[in-house]
Subunit: 132 residues, 2 copies
Amino acid sequence: VSSAAESVQTVGLFAGRHVIAELDRVDPMLLNDELFLRRAVQQVLHRAGATVLTVVSKRFCPQGVTVLALLSESHASLHTYPEFSSMFVDVFTCGTRADPERAVRLLAEALGNPPIRIETIQRGWQKDEGHT
Amino acid sequence: VSSAAESVQTVGLFAGRHVIAELDRVDPMLLNDELFLRRAVQQVLHRAGATVLTVVSKRFCPQGVTVLALLSESHASLHTYPEFSSMFVDVFTCGTRADPERAVRLLAEALGNPPIRIETIQRGWQKDEGHT
């Protein structure tokens, strides 16, 4: 189907957008809920156009959760700190189909729209840079 | 032992260093060698003071490998593009025990010291910023 062809074309460039974010004042109960966070990550990535291939997670003692998602388009991660009601989020995607900023904003929505700091880094070769 | 106590103290802050890097002119054979890359990631992270809990990887068709490592200190990732002899690397660590820049430099060493672009982002609350 056409999405496969598109995926080959756009994912095949050495370029991508890496969104790094921090969410504050999140309910600590949610930040310790490994299953909720795994599902939320999968759902928001899917809605943002990414293809999730594998998800791994770990609940730390006494608190905190890490979730990593291996994507066709690169990866996503979250690391929670319930003791500070805060979390780190990364979504790195190559190609144009997936929207990493949208994934982060959807995740914030799933967590009750907490305050968020977000930064987008362009990685790889930019259009005006070429490849020598 | 003392390292456990240290780990709790330093990993327990909402702060970390995220190193993002691009390596160019790497042997495409190595960039397609999933097992080599998995082992290299584990070794360099260990040597850089990080604790690797889980590693997942994927060999893409027709080419390219992704490796994700879930760390006690956060995560590491690499995404290879053999068709461009290039790779993206991230190492994000909380606390002071692991040295993410050292991990990236050791990885470059394992790949024959190719040209490297490296950037370090301070994440979370900085010392002068506090937490309100």
